[in-house]
């Protein structure tokens, strides 16, 4: 019990970081997802291809690999680029090729969630009856106006439940950031376990802290859903 009480402040600190990175991931992911989702629905072939390629890549590869690619792979690429530049021009192109761990964490989590959110938005937009777009266009609205005032407001309501799920999934998946040493809840736990060898107690506590967060959040989403239903 002592070992848990001693580790708890650190773990809560980690939990706050996990939540923070999840919120940032959902916010940036929503922006990326809206753009990618609309791109996939676009009639313009190039944007359709780009949107689909992005979604396929980030949903089709493990988050673990994406984190490694961004944290270690990108600096590696920049280093090779620098070496090539030096061999040609004699001086380096970039003075610093290292990757900040927060940048890597935000980038990987946002890009990953953006791909899932793109599909959520696409589904939400496609679930709106075709007649809504036709009615809006028949009144002289442009495609953009019809999207903005008629389709998206209705779609946003429908995507709240799947967005809640995505938040919960993402919160759990941020534990993978521990592999690059990003000190969120799982990493903090790992460090405490290494110090105290209290594996079972601390990992169980860690699980419990995740559970409290996901459980609270899913109840909040349920309530929001009910409220929107009655409106």
């Amino acid at each position: 019990m002592d070992v848990i009480l001693h580790a708890l402040p650190l773990m809560i600190e980690g939990a706050v970081i996990s939540l923070l990175i999840t919120v940032i991931g959902i916010v940036l992911g929503s922006i990326i997802g809206l753009i990618a989702g609309l791109a996939r629905l676009s009639k313009v072939k190039l944007s359709k291809i780009l949107g689909t390629a992005y979604v396929d890549f980030f949903r089709g590869t493990p988050l673990f690999v994406q984190i490694m690619l961004i944290y270690f792979g990108i600096p590696g690429l920049l280093n090779s680029l620098n070496e090539y530049w030096i061999s040609v021009n004699g001086n380096p192109l970039l003075s610093n090729t290292s990757m900040n761990i927060w940048v890597a964490a935000i980038l990987s989590i946002s890009l990953n969630s953006g791909a899932y959110i793109a599909e959520i938005f696409r589904g939400g937009i496609q679930s709106i009856e075709k007649g809504q777009m036709e009615a809006a266009r028949s009144l002289g609205m442009t495609h953009v106006q019809a999207m903005r005032y008629v389709i998206l407001p209705q779609a946003f309501k429908r995507v709240i439940p799947p967005m809640g799920n995505e938040f919960i999934m993402l919160l759990k998946e941020t534990s993978l950031l521990s592999v690059i040493g990003f000190e969120e809840l799982a990493r903090k736990t790992q460090l405490e376990v290494a110090r105290t060898y209290a594996s079972f107690e601390l990992w169980l506590t860690c699980a419990f802290v995740y559970l409290v967060m996901t459980f609270t959040f899913s109840r909040l989403v349920d309530r929001l859903e009910k409220k929107l239903e009655t409106e």
Binding site: E129, G131, E134, S138, L139, M141, K157
Partner: protein
């Protein structure tokens, strides 16, 4: 002629839905399009505001050739109101907001001015007391009357009706037809696809019978309903009258 359609063809993939439609409609004329389902009458109507892109042919609306890709279709559509079978009201907006949305966003009308006009129109369709209700709180007949008010709010020169009473319970058909009759009396140019033969007879200046993607016969309601010449028209009318 406010509407001029020449050699209009429309294919969906390999399916030919419209096979050479020629038709002119005068200002203030009320034209009723009848025909069996699958005859292409709704597709014909939807080509008049380019909700369907014609495969070939020309459609000229109030002097604008809407089959010309350089024509600003959003501008022409402001002059052509449309009422749909399934109403298609915006469910997230109140009745008043449904009616004012396009005038505010498309015509750049001031909000209070748009609302004043909207209330007038809602009065006209007998629903001013529902201004703050949401569409889901209204009956089908009331929703369709709001849809008519919404289309009229853009001050269109032409109104298109795509089977406006087909999705309604029988007891609500009358209230919608009454609004349409009033519009016709006020001199609105109307093209109405419908199965309401009573309406066609009473209000129509001209009845067009379509079958198999073509206009088979047209004439005054009297000519069509009492003295149809074409055997296809006769056979269709004998089944429904």
């Amino acid at each position: 002629m406010i509407i001029k359609v020449q050699d209009l063809y429309k294919n969906f993939g390999s399916l030919e839905v419209l096979k050479g439609i020629n038709c002119s409609i005068k200002e203030q004329e009320v034209v009723v399009v009848i025909g069996p389902s699958g005859s292409g009458k709704s597709t014909f109507l939807r080509c008049l505001n380019k909700l369907e892109e014609p495969t070939s042919g020309t459609v000229i609306i109030d002097g604008y050739d809407i089959t010309d890709p350089n024509t600003d279709i959003n501008y022409v559509r402001q002059e052509v109101g449309m009422v749909f079978q399934r109403f298609n009201l915006f469910p997230h907006k109140t009745v008043l907001e449904n009616v004012t949305l396009a005038p505010i966003k498309v015509r750049n009308m001031q909000k209070d001015e748009a609302e004043k006009k909207a209330i007038e129109l809602l009065k006209k369709v007998g629903l001013e007391d529902k201004a703050n209700a949401y569409p889901s709180q209204l009956s089908g007949g009331q929703q369709q009357r709001v849809a008519i008010a919404r289309a009229l709010a853009m001050r269109p020169k032409i109104m298109l009706f795509d089977e406006p009473t087909s999705a309604l319970d029988p007891e609500m058909v009358g209230e919608v037809l009454a609004v349409m009759k009033q519009l016709a009396r006020e001199g609105m140019t109307m093209v109405v696809v419908t199965h309401e033969m009573g309406f066609a007879r009473e209000v129509g200046d001209r009845v067009i019978f379509m079958d198999n993607g073509q206009i088979v016969e047209e004439g005054t309601p009297k000519e069509i309903f009492s003295n149809a010449q074409n055997p296809r028209t006769q056979s269709f009318l004998s089944k429904i009258l």
